[in-house]
């Protein structure tokens, strides 16, 4: 299979996915954001008889508060943290405030003997998110330089550094975009676990890409082929077995956790899953291909595509 000649298919596909993600992010609500970021309300409810946490979660989900964080404080008392619940104010009709509606829904489980509501500040400040983003960007730049240096045996190794970082950013964008799209259909939100997942994606993608690049470096030194394209293609073929095997093994663990584990881990695991798939995909189909595009100066080719497709050399299939 020729990975290099099909590069425009791969790049095009990635472009489409990222575009869809960006559009989804721009259409409000861009993301579902977890309460760790926005702050909200903490409702402490004491029932008159013991209530199971699973039942409570189900009831909350039915009432539309599926994202609430529930902590048991004993058999009949629970601390429920969720988005801001308005209390009765003069403007709202009696019995219709969000809090009252939630409580009457909860009474279906058991009579409530006591409830206490308080506003809760965000656990994770906005600055933290901003700082995490900055940290990621700085890390990307440093990795770029490191790869450029480590792969100096290959001519123009700065290209390798850059494409590796581009592949990572590609993965992050795809994951964000997919989360944005999914957030519109199912109850999946951006929260602290998501950030953890993104960091994991970052680490994994770089790792994966470097393995492929390492093979390219080795094959370049051994002069296995006449031109860069063939070398790259050959290298990809050689590492394919290893890439897929690693991905499959990690995937098995993640899928097992997703199916059998608890619901609260899903945000994290889903991020892993998406990140793993795009990480592998970007290492095999995007990063090295960008090297070819770069070497051939083909950056503007998508724009010239309409005009003169025959002008660029078409590699045999």
């Amino acid at each position: 299979m020729d990975f290099v000649s099909k590069r425009w298919w791969f790049l095009g596909f990635s472009f489409a996915v990222i575009m869809a993600g960006i559009i989804s992010m721009l259409v409000p609500p861009g993301f579902r954001i977890g309460i760790e970021f926005t702050g909200g309300s903490a409702l402490t409810v004491t029932f008159e008889k013991p209530v199971g946490q699973e039942q409570l979660r189900k009831t909350l989900t039915d009432l539309g508060y599926g994202e609430a964080v529930i902590q048991g404080l004993g058999e009949s008392t629970f601390l429920i943290r969720t988005r801001t619940l308005e209390e009765a104010t003069p403007g709202v009709a009696a019995g219709q405030s969000a809090r009252e509606r939630l409580e009457s829904g909860l009474r279906a489980l058991a009579p409530i003997s006591n409830s206490d509501l308080a506003a809760v500040s965000p656990v994770v400040a906005r600055e933290t998110v901003r700082n995490a983003i900055i940290a990621v960007l700085v890390a990307s730049v440093v990795i770029l330089f490191y790869i450029t240096w480590a792969f100096r045996a290959v001519p123009n190794s700065i290209r390798m550094g850059s494409t590796a970082v581009i592949a990572v950013l590609h993965d992050v964008l795809v994951t964000l975009g997919l989360f944005s799209i999914l957030g519109k259909f199912i109850n999946i939100e951006i929260n602290v676990m998501f950030i953890t997942g993104i960091l994991t994606v970052l680490g994994y993608s770089v790792h994966d890409t470097i393995v492929v690049f390492d093979r390219i470096r080795e094959n370049t030194a051994r002069r296995v082929a006449r031109d860069l394209e063939s070398t790259i293609n050959f290298s990809i073929m050689e590492t394919l077995g290893r890439s897929l095997n690693t991905s499959i093994t990690t995937l098995m663990a993640i899928v097992a956790l997703l199916i059998l584990g608890g619901p609260t881990l899903q945000s994290l695991l889903l991020t892993f899953l998406i990140g793993l798939i795009t990480g592998t995909y970007s290492s095999i189909c995007i990063a090295a291909q960008l090297l070819v595009v770069w070497q051939r100066g083909e950056w503007l080719r998508p724009f010239r595509w309409r005009r003169a497709p025959a002008a660029s050399p078409a590699p045999p299939a």
Partner: protein
Amino acid sequence: MAKGNLRRLIIVGFLAALAVAALVFPTINVEAGALKFRRGGTGPLGLRLGLDLQGGAHLVYQAVRPPNSLRVTFAEGVEVKAERVTSVLQPVLSRQGRTLDSAAERGVRSFVVQVPCLKPGGRTGQVSALQGADLATLERALREQIGPLTEPARITGGCETPTSAQMEGVAGIIERRINEFGVTEPSVQVLGNDRILVQLPGVGDTEIRATFEGPVAVEAVRGALAQFDRGNARIPQKESASFTIQAPSLKPARRDAQGNVVEPAEQDRIKEALGKVAPLKSFTVGGGIEEAKRLIGQTAHLVFKHRACKNGPCTQYEDIDIKLEGDDLARAFGDRHQTTGLPIVSIEFNSEGGRIFGELTSRIAQPHDGIFDRIAIFLDEEELLAPVARQAILGGRAFIEGPDFTSERVRTLAIQLESGRLPIPVTVLEERDVDATLGADALSKSLVAGYIGLGAVFLFMLLYYRVLGLMAGGALVVYTALALAIFKLFPVTLTLAGVAGFILSVGMAVDANVLIAERTKEELRRGRSLLSAIELGFSRAWPSIRDSNVSTFITCLILWWFGTRLGASLVVGFAITLFLGVAVSMFSAIFVTRGFLLLALVTPLRRATNLFTPVPGQALEAPARPPFRRS
């Protein structure tokens, strides 16, 4: 070569045994003279778990507002002492549901009476300032029973709602204190406008130290504990009369809706039960949560001292107490210098504080032997700043500038100074056990799923890579043991982010092994002997492993640095576990996998080379020769 490998295997075996030993004992206590080494937590294998993975203590603190100050001045001719004022006001106040803190004379026939603004007995600490009809009633009582007043009784202060900046300041201090103590990864949030929610992981650190009057058998103690389901509690110290009982998750007192105690706290009941076994000499509950509670209970303490420097850069000095404290500071806020525009911290002292400050600055503005003394500012015993004084400052107002002040830093400093200025005492409003944010059910399910996942990985490796896979699997087991042992000994508090980092590093360890296996397989296919195939497999795979791991290290370092600097503990936890995990995986790949593989050579397995190559007929076969035919 075989000898080299033997040495390698011995080292591996030794380390693996150490790791297993470290993990098997839930707590590790090593005390050798001055060296105290204590590790261990309440999670599985004695690892420390963060709040999201295990439960802990849930504490709600209420900011206690300063009491109302009531000023009463009697007319000429009235002879009265503070005690009389107190005895007149107390019955009136208690009819209003209040108490009286103190009454002091503050001038001729003038008194200041402190009345707390918290109504006692209210579950959420209802706050009500003294005013209106209540105030009028008090005044009337004073006039009728003592004498006329020159002016109406006035409230001169107290009961102010803490500002959000102050609450943030207190929350920050609480978090710092808890972290210092070692109860890591707390969750501290401001609740409402005057409460703080603190959640601390690992209630399990609690221990009960009970000393009896005379020798008591361990079995008797266990018997007494059995009724609390603690018959199997760990009782490490086995002296005849003194016992240390590990008592995780001691249940606090159960209260009803009004806050009255329905069932006494478990520790009290245990004390009673032990008392029945033999007379108790002492009974204390200590450990993480209790100590943390004790620390939190104190208020922020701001102190200014005269630092007498002994040398120019002031690395040797003596701090002299000048009785200038947070109470004397009226205001502190971040500002910009009028002329230079640089960020500064502006401070204002009250009249008494201004006087002391003036004396201090007059003294230290003049150098002695060319050395300038400084003002040392301490918050909670920790030095905050130590500026010099350029001139004597007599008006009580000053500003502090520094070459590295940013507007963010001055804002933080101002908050810290303010939180020490108005010491906001906090009292415990609520204290209970709390479950893991993840949900106890989720955790156990996830563990099971984790085992199944790992099993599947092992199986796959075995089936696809056969003997190589078996070696890799064995290496992975050793890797996991080593990594977890290091987490425990470091120590690292595992939150979900930390677990994610660990999972990623396991993935990379698997990857390293797969790389080695693939390379070895390639060399075998090229017809090399088993020994050289393995050796070549390593040397070919190594640059790849090294480079990808180094870039991961770089990522970790940057994430860690940013995380600690900017307070994103989530990121820090992830970075640490990933870093440690990857480091161990590199070691494991070089030493352990190689050791196992070379070990296979001395067994009869070496003859069955077909067992070393993956199952034939797989679709993903690299071409033996590169295609030279590109156009």
